[in-house]
Symmetry: C2
Amino acid sequence: MNIGLLLYIPYRDLENRIMAAVTAAGYDVTLAQARVLQRIGPDGTRLTELAEAAQVTKQTAGFLVDQLEKAGLVERVPDPTDGRARLVRITEKAQGAMPVAAREMARIEAEWEQHLGKRRMGQLREALEKLCEITDPYR
Amino acid sequence: MNIGLLLYIPYRDLENRIMAAVTAAGYDVTLAQARVLQRIGPDGTRLTELAEAAQVTKQTAGFLVDQLEKAGLVERVPDPTDGRARLVRITEKAQGAMPVAAREMARIEAEWEQHLGKRRMGQLREALEKLCEITDPYR
DNA sequence: TACTTTAATCAGGGTCTCTGACCAAAACAA
DNA sequence: TTGTTTTGGTCAGAGACCCTGATTAAAGTA
């Protein structure tokens, strides 16, 4: 079986489950919005940085942030260090969604470790981390 | 680092590179089209099966097959065993694209094995195959 | 025959993402 | 200082993707 599909199948399962958990908790967020939300740092992050991290254009990131702003999940504040820039920050309201996602993620990881065994799970993580050295365009 | 991202980063790199290779070879195919194309069996496959395998609705699969048909990469022929159904088949023209993708895939796998070493690459594949047992909705 | 299921399509709409053009602030160079 | 380039962000327009709901036709079933 093709290695691409082998990577994709567990990834999609994980993503679907996390999205379902977040939706079930009452947060109406789309996948694309979640991908941006995930990248926002504790002190706020510039739009351009978000776009790079999420691998989309500035326009796309701006569009998604607009939606998140309308939903009250993020806010834009001026960047004190640069008059052109604004920082995208997570609001109080969105803070509640983070632990929901984190809990589901922990649950999934535990299930995977249960199925693979501790040894193989460790090997998987180690191999993937090593692989990211040559496949991650951001480092 | 989050296990979801660890799976996704190499996956995306692989997909991007294969798409680039196919495009460079003169086949003007989008990602979504490629995902459908990939699933077509040697004797043709029904639309409904394609939709299931690619995890999209029949309508979406139909839309993508329409485009592929216009581009001359697939054709629809009646299914001799079922008057309602039609088989989507790969045309002569598209046959040329398959080896291009396969060669790029082989090249990438070789690079990965080079970076990880034979042992870790084997462990990675083994762990992913095991993981697909519980994450693949189709088996 | 009448009912149910299955294969596929039609119609319409929402979401995501892109290219290209543009503006304004910051950084740099002469 | 003044002009030039870079950088952060937006606007406008379009295309790609994917969905829900309704419909047609063939197949299977009671």
